[in-house]
Symmetry: C2
Subunit: 398 residues, 2 copies
């Protein structure tokens, strides 16, 4: 409903269409872009020059091919001049990263959550972001915007975190408050975008992951809780209330183990870190890190192998159910449970593979998060890029 | 990538934007439309007049309110002058319907599948469609296009049915062949659109269902097989291979009953009509219609009540899992199992409700298919409308 014939807006749509084409198919020339987009060659030349001037595109030397005539100049996304900042407001820690348009991590800082107090956390985040922005400035980079990943569903339009049970927060006007804090810290008001942690991590994989990026793409965040970010039809899939992909509470066994949510047989009761920890605690084992669990299994601890294999099998069933529901081309496993190692993941992959073979259909790619523990922070930076290069949606949301 | 500055295309986008606004909010005036779309009042007036002339819009008398000045004229989608044809190529029967832009069924014919032979079926479909088109013509209606729902995943661009196991068909160029047959039958080549049966049924609910239409919307087709059509972000959600929503083979019980697909514990082994029929056959009962099963349960047959309640409970679990995955605002139950009655459906709804209460979140609306056994045929007609009023996507697919 927002195509108004406004010329500058149409121009921005066309500019960003060019960015998206080059992002997906680097090394195309201006002539290729004209063919790809249906824009005239002169319009493409004009827009490409602007994008080069502003730091979006860079030209590289054409490869000498032996063919006659002037070689078309290949265009690439410029990784050198612009930057995006992403912040991960986690339950236990906060991270701030700067990344290039191509997903190179330029700067990263992680520290423990300073306090459960909202004001303290927002103030600290603003400080870290301001320092990061300052370093970018010294490096001669232009900041395009700031993204934030939070541990709960959000109201994107209002810039509020609806609730974050693990922080004990609800209805927090984070975007406005962070904006004020950044202004106070001397960061001239750039755009701020916010989304749920699994959603931004999914966008991180979608914008910066291994190409070609298949769709739908599901990022499954495995930790104490189990949730997912889903990208489909080029957009985040978030459901009626922003909480689609709540796979931790899909039921894998009717009348199964009791879940803290009141239901029984939820996926989290089989594969959540708390559930795994409870099993181990029942042996009288002290609390161990995920890496330590994997280490024990690797060293031959039979009980640990059994626990991780059992959990891994249910992860395979969950991944299979995600597959039947969304038919993703790729499922990415992320989150702290990624350290549980092969008894967990290889079991899941083998289970998924068996199901796929039964059905005669190719299984989706299974991958581990490209940015590891920085997945949410980098994803938050990707959110900024994702929004900027889709101006139609930006306008629709305004 | 398809916004080219082409003026006639932009005009068509704007025209169809107006149609979609009036579809969602009937009785708006030209001034309201201008406000809603950002178009100028003079552009709106021009486009509205065209849409009235062509049969999309109708003006009705403004209600006298007592306020001074000229009253703005409310606009409505015209149900009288245009028509859409939808065809359901089912495993056991074929149906052809004509519907108005507002979803009124103007004409409907259903007959048994004439043969498993492709040529025979396509020829018969063309005959039925041609006869329907002829009747529309006599009634003075203009046909906008023809939609087709088929029992298997499709390649929409190529107009092919990939495979339909229950027909024993694979890689059938249905759209091209139906187009030729229609031409031979004297139907001047209108657009033909094709999609999977559950997908078109979902679009039927999305375009013609009870307003407001929440998103995502899931149409769960319950029969021998269990599949779904999903509408999200205003589009059909179909996954990497067109077969998203294959919920019949999501696993509800690890190591559960064997499924014909080779997996175990698939949803179909609990709620598919074949699975229910097998249980009943085990009592030595002869094959009964779904309506007869419901009748027996209603008359007090304890075993039948137990069978239907057990299946209904698993339907509730499946609906819950669909809810956690997609967070739909509405789940519609359709297909022949709809005749199984309250022991099946009320149990499912109660199960779903209990889960929602446990989680503290509102459950999605549960509804039965608005068009009953014509859901797929009417949905196929809705597919035509859905495509026509989204020209951006039409062009992107061309």
């Amino acid at each position: 409903m927002s195509i108004t014939g406004d010329q500058s807006f149409l121009k921005q749509i066309n500019r960003m269409a060019l960015v998206r084409v080059i992002q997906q198919a680097p090394a195309l020339s201006r002539a290729d872009l004209a063919k790809e987009t249906g824009l005239t060659k002169s319009t493409v030349s004009l827009l490409v020059q602007e994008l080069i001037d502003e730091g979006w595109f860079v030209e590289r030397k054409a490869q000498v091919t032996g063919a006659l005539g002037r070689r078309p100049t290949p265009l690439y996304i410029d990784s050198q001049r612009l930057a995006l900042i992403g912040a991960d407001l986690g339950v236990e820690s906060i991270s701030v990263v700067a990344v290039s348009l191509t997903g190179n991590v330029l700067d990263a800082v992680t520290e423990p959550l300073p306090s459960p107090d909202q004001a303290v956390v927002i103030h600290r985040l603003a400080k870290l972001i301001a320092a990061c922005a300052e370093r970018l400035k010294h490096a001669g980079r232009t900041l395009l915007g700031i993204g934030l990943g939070v541990p709960g569903p959000v109201n994107e339009q209002a810039g509020t975190l609806k609730y974050a049970p693990n922080l004990g927060w609800s209805k927090v006007q984070i975007v406005a408050r962070l904006g004020s804090a950044l202004k106070a810290a001397g960061v001239s008001s750039p755009r701020i975008f916010m989304q749920n942690e699994a959603d931004v991590a999914a966008l991180g994989e979608f914008e910066f992951g291994e190409r070609p990026i298949p769709e739908p793409l599901v990022y499954l965040s495995l930790g104490v809780g189990v949730g997912a970010g889903i990208v489909a039809n080029d957009r985040l899939f978030s459901g009626v209330d922003g909480s689609a992909g709540d796979f931790g509470h899909s039921i894998l066994q009717v009348d199964g183990p009791e879940c803290y949510c009141g239901r029984r047989g939820c996926a989290e009761t089989f594969i959540g870190l708390r559930a795994i920890g409870t099993q181990i605690a029942a042996w009288g084992e002290k609390a161990l890190s995920t890496a330590a669990l994997a280490e024990l299994a690797a060293r031959g601890d039979a009980r640990m192998r059994e626990v991780l294999t059992h959990a891994g099998r249910y992860l395979g069933v969950l991944a299979h159910n995600i597959w039947t529901a969304f038919k993703p081309g790729r499922i990415v496993f992320g989150g702290p449970a990624c350290e549980l190692g092969p008894y967990f993941f290889d079991t899941a992959a083998a289970c998924m593979q068996r199901y796929a073979e039964s059905s005669g259909l190719p299984a989706p790619e299974l991958k581990q998060a490209h940015y590891g523990s920085l997945a949410v922070a980098v994803g938050a930076a990707a959110l900024v890029l994702h929004k900027l290069i889709r101006p139609l949606e930006l306008k629709a949301c305004a």
